[in-house]
């Protein structure tokens, strides 16, 4: 896609906003529509757009395979350890009220952490699936042209 100037410029302009919107959906999910799952997909979509326009090799420099794999596990572990932390705080597993002195504050913290875990896992899995599909050969770039 090297000679599509319009596409390159427009996606260069759009990608930061898509990433910002992904973060907004992630951390504003308790107040508006959205949450970890949607945010992860939006975040991954920005990186996939980058990979489509600027090539897979450049995208792999942004999100190395090893980082993506670590991210997949990190999200699940963050979710699980939030539950363990509430166990240690004296509550049931995943009972966020035990996370802090103030039960409501604990709920907020717990939901934030859990949604972050969901977001990280979903985002990493989407990127990993895309990379492994597109990495089979580089004909994807040709198809798009």
């Amino acid at each position: 896609m090297n000679h599509h100037l319009v596409v390159r410029v427009v996606s260069k302009l759009l990608i930061p906003f898509i990433l910002l919107f992904g973060l907004y959906v992630q951390f504003h999910g308790d107040f508006g529509p959205g949450g970890g799952f949607q945010a992860g997909v939006i975040f991954a979509a920005a990186l996939i757009l980058y990979a489509l326009v600027f090539g897979l090799d450049n995208a792999r420099k942004v999100a190395p395979d090893s980082a993506v794999r670590v991210g997949m596990a990190t999200g699940v572990l963050l979710f699980g350890f939030t539950g363990v932390a509430s166990l240690l705080g004296g509550g049931n597993y995943l009972d966020y009220s035990a996370l802090s002195q103030n039960p409501l504050g604990g709920q907020h913290l717990g939901i934030l952490l859990v949604e972050l875990g969901v977001g990280i896992t979903v985002c990493s899995v989407m990127i990993a699936i895309f990379f492994s599909f597109a990495g089979r050969n580089h004909r994807l770039d040709k198809l798009e042209e």
Partner: protein, 174 residues
């Protein structure tokens, strides 16, 4: 939406089919917005219309663009599809009307969530409160499903690189 589905079935150009699939997802997303299910619409637009279309295009790049024409009318699958379709439509006949306040789904736990959700979690978006707090175990399971799916794809598709590395290690030993 019906037109899109009919076109998906009729067309043989797989590229157009993938694109129509994306359009179908977008239409479904607008339908969810009409039903006030904004969170679901969000997911449908991002996953169905966005990422899965790109993934299908990626898969398409690995095979041919045209569907093989078998030329035969598949009778038994057609009968199964029609029977199941009739059974499903028959099943919807005694479902409560859309928006009926006395429907079973609205009198079970939903009033509790609506009344106590804000007091117990102080999260204004009830969907997030239910997903992350009341149904935390469900969501943990879902994340594990996504994680497992990712691992599965990685195991299947990045196999040759792994075997090459394995062989390299074996060669060193010898």
């Amino acid at each position: 939406m019906t037109i899109t589905v009919v076109m998906v079935v009729r067309l043989h150009n797989l590229f157009a089919v993938v694109m129509l699939g994306g359009i179908y997802s977008l239409l479904a997303a607008t339908m969810f917005v009409l039903f006030d299910a904004v969170d679901v619409a969000f997911t449908e637009a991002a996953v169905g219309a966005g990422v899965s279309t790109v993934l299908l295009l990626g898969a398409l790049a690995l095979t041919s663009r045209e569907e093989k024409d078998t030329g035969k009318l598949a009778v038994i699958p057609l009968i199964i599809v029609i029977t199941v379709g009739i059974a499903l439509i028959y099943g919807t006949l005694d479902m409560p009307l859309y928006g009926d306040p006395n429907a079973p789904i609205h009198v079970h736990v939903a009033p509790y969530y609506l009344e106590r959700g804000m007091v117990e979690t102080s999260v204004p978006n009830i969907v997030t409160a239910v997903l992350a707090s009341y149904r935390g175990f469900d969501t943990l399971g879902e994340v594990c499903v996504v994680f497992t799916a990712g691992i599965g794809v990685l195991m299947l598709l990045s196999r040759e690189r792994l075997t090459r590395r394995y062989r390299g290690v074996g060669g060193d030993k010898r």
